[in-house]
């Protein structure tokens, strides 16, 4: 190596060391892009806080318990709303392809404020208080969710294929949007199927 090449080597090394020394300050000034994907989680767990033993064959007057949870990976604290809705087989679910929520009114709701990387779970206890049962149809009149009584008047026809009167308790996730200053459907929902064929 001649002297010119040594000079270049020295200059490059010096610039590298200078950048290393200046990095702590640069990292506070220059906003480095975050590569992590931003998303939220929504889940339902059974009575033992595990993904098992979900209530399915339900009866009048018995209390059932599930846990609904939300996880935040949005890069900052987020404000969520979880709407609890009840439907029979013919009533609409949220439309995932169009990001539209179910038009059914919410019965119960949760509001969670969660820090980035954090999660929150809440228990949900429900009980069928008034159900009319006919030969090929069933009518759920009143349901209690976390000790609040709701009139639902939801009829269901006998499903010959699956042999039961099926209902669904489902949860929609909404996220507060600071730009529009309102909750927006966050395109996530989960639910549990309930078979109202147990003895009344």
């Amino acid at each position: 190596m001649n002297l010119e090449e040594y000079r270049t080597l020295f200059a490059v090394t010096t610039v590298g060391l200078m950048l290393t020394a200046a990095f702590p300050t640069l990292s506070l000034v220059v906003p480095f892009p975050r590569s992590a994907e931003r998303f939220s989680e929504l889940w339902v767990l059974g009575p033992n806080r595990m993904a098992e033993d979900y209530p399915f064959n339900v009866r009048l007057g018995e209390e059932y318990r599930v846990f609904v949870g939300v996880g935040n990976h949005m890069g900052s604290s987020s404000y969520y709303r979880v709407c609890v809705k009840f439907r029979n087989q013919s009533q609409p679910l949220p439309d995932a392809s169009n990001s539209t929520p179910s038009p059914l009114p919410p019965l119960f709701e949760f509001r969670f404020l969660i820090t980035d990387g954090g999660s929150r779970e809440a228990p949900l206890t429900f009980e069928f208080l008034e159900v009319s049962h006919m030969e090929d149809s069933c009518l759920v009149r009143r349901i209690s969710i976390n000790d609040v009584v709701f009139s639902v008047d939801s009829p269901s026809r006998w499903d010959p294929e699956n042999k039961g009167f099926y209902y669904q308790l489902f949860f929609e996730l909404w996220l507060y949007d600071l730009t529009s200053r309102s909750f927006q459907f966050h395109d996530r929902f989960v639910g549990i199927w309930l078979n109202m064929t147990g003895q009344f």
Partner: protein
């Protein structure tokens, strides 16, 4: 019989008036509940924004978030009660939410101020460290280059052509 007629009319009027009164009271409490919920929604969002700003400034907001969750529970309860027609319950829950929301908002702005001050100090010290680091690197590099150059010249000048005997 003649005396009974005015009494009957009076009673009917009283019943009508009381119905109106009950209806008005109900409408009034519905309006009170609706405005309490609206106020609580606004305060909850303001508190959330304040918490976000404090978080961006580098403050630890976990305690504030936990308290806002209590306020959120109250607000959810207020909405449920309102939908079920329990306007007094809705107004009570909304007022509780408003109270917590306002407290959290004030505390969040305080925390944000502290965090910004700490961040400013941290930035100053980091900058001083970086400037010192860069100065040391530049100085050491300059000095190193001078020494290296001197040695290099000495080595090059020390090289002399040698005549080896026995070669043509």
């Amino acid at each position: 019989m003649g005396a009974l007629k005015p009494v009957t009319i009076l009673l009917a009027l009283l019943v009508f008036a009381s119905t109106l009164f009950v209806f008005n009271t109900s409408a009034l409490s519905e309006n009170v509940a609706a405005s309490a919920i609206e106020k609580a929604e606004g305060l909850m969002v303001s508190a959330y924004q304040a918490v976000l700003e404090a978080e961006r400034a580098g403050a630890n907001v976990s305690v504030l978030v936990a308290r806002l969750n209590v306020a959120g529970e109250g607000l959810a309860q207020a909405h449920i009660s309102y939908r079920l027609g329990d306007f007094d319950g809705a107004a009570r829950s909304a007022d509780l939410c408003s109270q917590i929301g306002e407290e959290v908002r004030v505390e969040a702005y305080g925390l944000r101020g502290l965090a910004l001050e700490e961040a400013g100090q941290r930035f100053r010290w980091t900058m001083i460290g970086s400037i010192l680091g860069v100065a040391i690197v530049v100085g050491a590099s300059f000095l190193g280059w001078r020494i290296f150059k001197l040695r290099y010249y000495r080595r090059v000048l020390g090289m002399r052509p040698e005549v080896v005997s026995g070669e043509s």
